[in-house]
């Protein structure tokens, strides 16, 4: 494994790092004692409801709010035009790092034209949500329907109208990358496989919907916003800048957050409107999206068509891959993170596990009259992996080589790093070979193939799928957000403090949404400092308390925030030992901290407790010589240096049974072997992978936001938009290979999205493995029973 650990302190016996510890936050959530934004009810709180566009595209001819204003309990009715006047200007969802990208100016609520069904038009603020909804029915709006652009394939045709005439056409962004010489590789290949893949639109469906409570205090001109967010500092900047308020006067608190999956790294117009209402009325105003609003206004994702091609030699060596992506965005590029990351990620990661040197990827992202799209768990990876891994399977079949063996011959070698991947991005500290061999063992691959054959003889059609993957985690500062002009930190920070009674406060910029980020930071702090875990309190999600940071997104919390925490704890540890050295008349290097006590190195007998050091350091400072000025607090900030991402890798396996008469699937088993570097808390890491897989399987099998030709979302309820449920999910066996990343001393990479990224690919490959004897093949998701029956030629 690893040569010399750069963080030996974490590898000591009984370290809290590498151990499963239970989460306090889980205990309270399970007991129903969570405190989410909607649980916070200051006196005199008002509630916002929105009149939303019933059309996919319509000119707003007139808005009459007079009758609505007269309704019982109504405190404010605000139109899009009125809100626009309170804003510093429209949003434009472009980033300078995306060359040539364009997007139309967008106001938080539409001013004269609605561009998607569900776009907010008028806000009604009243004594209760019900009263606000009642009054909203009295808002009279005259519309003139405009033609909609719904089909991404025809969105760029000359006779398709431009949704935003000022942009000239519906093209948001295009990009092509090429390494090596694809045309030559294709011309010289023994076998070339081509296929076209389509992916339906998804949305995140967090259990707790978007939620915001704004409280403006006209005395201090301070604004306190409780909101279900992953990125408090980012939303602070966006909210403050949009409404022209000083950023330091805006406090963002993210209390318990009930799931997020990328949805809650975004800002939405209805949230700006709610805040504006609080400023205007000087009263608390709350907006809680209901499920219908969630479907019709939360960001969507994944709508892509990808043409792919793979070239191989007949002995099974991949020589090139090339893909062409048509990505369907919404009516605007989502501000400030844009709607083009997904296509860009597909382009970055397709075929990423393999050693071929010729790769071309091009993408066009087009505007549609639908909900804006943006980052959702494992951005682009489910698509890139499904495309790449299906092509690999098809190539293996064409070569007559077992798909596991085919991958064995093509993955990058574990001893070949650092190296540049086919998409031109640096890869380091990866373990495709080790992961693959571990999967072979875990699946009992050869025996499983035999079992599959036995079942076939009995008329039972089972399929085995494999999907290798890479996953971009923990983005660095050079690539995107900050560099592209968005107020989003790619660094993150931690402040660790020793309190007088020996307790330790750890304040982090990264945030928890139920995955256990707080627990993990506590473990790192306790292990590094040498204190019992019970004495550490982690504080996150409050811009008044924690150091500035990017928050949690892109599997960065442990990789970036974890290293900051580790280094901050090391600094505090050094200070404690220095003070102890003075008090004990010992050289600090001869001392150690174990279970909250300073001891002589190698010994366990307490020489002085941290509580005593805390007491002296805070209250009895006169006991220390003048040159010792204890701060008992340390801050560290960490960011990647040159790397674009910390790439992780892994491989998944799936075993499924297909009822070829009904097209119904049974998911029998699922395996994941992945390499997230150092595992801090094995159970939390496992459950991230499992939950991630389930989310990926949901997308692959059930989920799709269906629009009709008029731009009406057809299935905006949980009865019609099917999410995965436990009953249908397979057991998911997880194993970790731990190749520590060299970019930090902690060595942790991201883990939260690895399940989601490859689960759709592996289950599609498994289904196609089952269908192969019947000549059927699926290249579109979700794979509904009808899709499967069609592939079999039965309907």
């Amino acid at each position: 494994m690893n040569k010399e650990s750069p963080a030996p302190i974490l590898d000591r016996p009984n370290s809290y790092v590498g151990r499963t510890l239970s989460r306090d936050a889980a205990k309270r959530a399970v007991a129903g004692r969570g405190r989410y934004t909607d649980d916070i009810n200051p006196a005199r709180t008002l509630h916002a409801a929105f009149v939303r566009s019933p059309y996919g595209h319509a000119k707003i001819l007139s808005v009459d709010v007079e009758e609505a204003k007269q309704q019982p309990g109504v405190a404010l009715v605000m139109t899009g035009a009125e809100l626009a006047e309170m804003c510093t200007g429209p949003w434009v969802g472009t980033l300078t790092c995306f060359d040539g990208m364009k997007s139309a100016p967008q106001y938080p609520m539409a001013v004269d034209r609605a561009c998607w069904q569900g776009e907010p038009l008028v806000m009604v603020v009243a004594s209760s949500r019900a009263a606000a909804e009642d009054a909203a029915e009295f808002v009279m709006i005259e519309y003139e329907e405009l033609p909609v652009v719904i089909d991404k394939e025809t969105a760029l045709d000359p006779d398709t109208p431009a949704i935003h005439p000022d942009l000239g056409d519906n093209l948001a962004f295009e990009k092509t990358i090429e390494t090596g010489d694809v045309d030559k590789a294709v011309a010289e290949a023994d076998i070339v496989i081509e296929d076209t893949f389509t992916f339906g639109r998804h949305t995140a469906v967090s259990l707790e919907p978007r939620a915001l409570l704004a409280e403006y205090d006209p005395g201090t001109e301070r604004l306190t916003i409780h909101t279900s967010s992953q990125c408090p500092h980012m939303v602070q900047a966006v909210f403050a800048r949009t409404l022209g308020l000083p950023e330091h006067n805006v406090r963002i608190v993210a209390p318990d957050v009930g799931g997020s999956f990328g949805l809650k790294i975004h800002t939405f117009g209805d949230e700006i409107a709610t805040i504006a209402a609080s400023v205007k009325l000087a009263r608390p105003v709350k907006f809680i999206a209901d499920r219908l609003e969630s479907f019709a206004t939360d960001i969507h994702a994944r709508e892509n068509r990808v043409r792919g091609r793979i070239a191989v030699t007949k002995d099974g060596k991949i020589t090139s891959m090339d893909i062409d992506i048509r990505s369907g965005a919404g009516a605007y590029s989502q501000y400030p993170r844009t709607s083009v990351f997904e296509a860009n990620q597909i382009l970055n990661i397709t075929g990423g596990p393999y050693a071929h040197e010729n790769y071309r990827a091009s993408t066009q992202v087009v505007y549609l009259n639908k909900v804006p799209t943006s980052q959702y768990r494992a951005v682009g990876h489910p698509i890139g992996n499904s495309v790449g891994e299906s092509l690999v399977d098809q190539a293996a079949a064409a070569c007559g080589i077992d798909p596991m063996e085919f991958r064995r011959r093509n993955v990058m070698h574990d001893d070949s790093y650092p190296r540049i991947g086919a998409a031109g991005i640096e890869m380091r500290d990866m373990s495709h070979q080790q992961c693959l061999e571990t999967l072979v063992e875990r699946m009992n691959y050869d025996a499983l193939r035999e079992e599959q054959e036995e079942f076939r003889k009995k008329g039972v059609q089972r399929g085995i799928g494999i999907a290798a993957f890479i996953k971009g985690t923990a983005p660095g500062p050079s690539g995107y957000y900050g560099a592209g002009g968005a107020p989003i930190a790619t660094q993150d920070a931690c402040t660790v403090k020793l309190e007088p009674a020996g307790g330790v406060i750890c304040m982090v910029g990264v945030t928890d949404q139920g995955q256990g980020v707080d627990t993990v930071m506590g473990q790192i702090t306790a292990a590094t400092l040498g204190v019992p875990i019970e004495s550490v309190r982690v504080i996150e999600g409050d811009t008044d308390a924690v150091p500035y940071g990017g928050g949690t997104y892109a599997s960065r919390a442990t990789a970036i925030g974890g290293e900051a925490t580790y280094q901050a704890a090391l600094k505090l540890r050094a200070e404690i030992l220095e003070i102890a050295g003075v008090l004990l008349q010992a050289a600090p290097e001869t001392l150690d901290i174990v279970e909250g006590h300073v001891v002589d190195k190698g010994d366990t007998v307490s020489r002085i407790s941290l509580a005593e050091i805390g007491r002296i350091g805070h209250f009895q400072v006169f006991e220390l010589p003048n040159h010792v000025q204890p701060t008992l607090s340390a801050t560290h900030r960490f960011r990647l240096r040159d790397a674009l991402y910390i790439f992780t890798n892994g491989i998944q396996g799936a075993y499924v049974e297909v009822d070829i008469d009904t097209g119904f699937l049974k998911l029998l088993n699922h395996w994941v072997v992945e390499d997230c570097g150092r595992v801090i808390n094995p159970q939390l890491a496992d459950e991230q992978v499992r939950g991630g897989c389930v989310q990926g399987l949901g997308g692959a099998l059930y989920e799709e936001c269906v629009y009709d030709a008029a731009g009406q979302l057809q299935n905006a309820t949980l009865a019609d938009y099917l999410t995965p449920m436990a009953g249908e999910m397979p057991d998911i066996e997880v194993a970790h290979i731990q190749t520590h990343t060299g970019v930090s001393e902690l060595g942790a990479k991201g883990v939260g999205e690895s399940g989601t990224g490859a689960a759709p690919a592996v289950v599609m490959n498994a289904v196609n493995d089952a269908l192969r004897p019947f000549g059927g093949k699926i290249s579109s998701q979700p794979m509904s029973p009808e899709t499967i029956l069609k592939a079999l030629g039965k309907v």
Binding site: S128, G663, Y702, A719, P785, V795
Partner: protein, 289 residues
């Protein structure tokens, strides 16, 4: 979404409820388990003036065997039906169907009367009641009447019940010795409304069907008795050819409605597959009996 304002009256007795129904006409709406009604209220898809709560009416629930008829009160919760020994013994079709109705939480509140009154075309209970040849007892201030299942289900959420009538009871013939029943449905996730489904009651002699009722749900606008498919099977020795003939004939019995879950062609295909499987199962069950 929040429901618009409505009035709420708790009916103290059957006659109270009937009185209210008569007075309020279209403006009144019965609430039983609320599992179907509440979402439509919250989404403002229906805006009744007054809800008439029948949950506290004492004599509207319960399951009894009365001669060769099983009587199920309209307010009987799905969970009570699912756990009832009377149902298990005398209405095995319904016992087999019940686990497919929604999830535990919904079954704890939802009522069999609510299911039958609502007449969702993909619901299990209406199909079972029709397959078993049951009748619905409805009551108004003018008295009560009994409607055969064949005459009761009119179409998409439409039934023979008048707006001033309360559904009070289902009367379902108990299983006779030798009756075989089979219930099958296809739903992508357990507890979802069916994509296609079939309730089947048969009398089997050796390898042949002597009597057969096939009721399809989830594909038509109401639970639908198939006659052509049945004719293709009755009196024939059950065989692959017979199965083929039955599924072919089903094309004349059904004309499935497409929805988000699938096209008309797929639904027909699934109903055909279920037909073959259900009849195979019926023969197996007859052999085992």
């Amino acid at each position: 979404m929040k429901a618009p304002k409505f009035n709420y009256v708790k009916a103290e007795s059957r006659s109270h409820a009937l009185q209210l129904l008569d007075e309020l006409g279209e403006d009144g709406r019965i609430i039983a388990g609320g599992q179907s009604l509440m979402p439509t209220l919250n989404m403002r898809l229906s805006q009744p003036d007054t809800l008439i709560d029948i949950n506290k009416i004492p004599d509207l629930g319960g399951i009894t065997l009365d001669g060769n008829i099983v009587r199920i009160g309209a307010l009987t919760r799905h969970v009570e039906v699912a756990n009832s020994p009377v149902v298990a013994e005398h209405l095995p079709l319904i016992a087999e169907a019940m686990p497919h109705v929604a999830h535990h939480a919904v079954r704890n509140r939802g009522t069999i009367g609510g299911s039958v009154a609502l007449a969702d075309p993909a619901a299990e209970m209406p199909a079972c009641v029709l397959a078993l040849g049951g009748t619905m007892v409805v009551e108004s201030v003018n008295g009560s009447r009994e409607i055969a299942a064949e005459d009761y289900f009119h179409g998409l959420y439409e039934t023979a019940r008048e707006t001033n009538e309360l559904l009070v009871e289902l009367r379902i013939p108990a299983k006779k010795t030798g009756d075989i029943s089979v219930f099958m449905e296809l739903a992508q996730r357990h507890g979802d409304y069916a994509m296609a489904g079939l309730a089947c009651v048969a009398r089997i002699n050796g390898n042949a069907f002597e009597g057969l009722r096939l009721v399809y749900f989830g594909s038509e606008d109401k639970p639908t008795l198939a006659s052509k498919a049945v004719s293709a099977v009755i009196g024939q020795a059950w065989s692959e050819e017979c199965k083929e003939a039955a599924t072919k004939a089903l094309e004349d019995d059904l004309d499935p409605m497409a929805n988000l879950q699938g096209s008309s062609a797929m639904k027909l295909h699934l109903q055909k597959v279920l037909t073959g499987r259900a009849l195979d199962t019926a023969i197996e069950r007859a052999e085992a009996a």
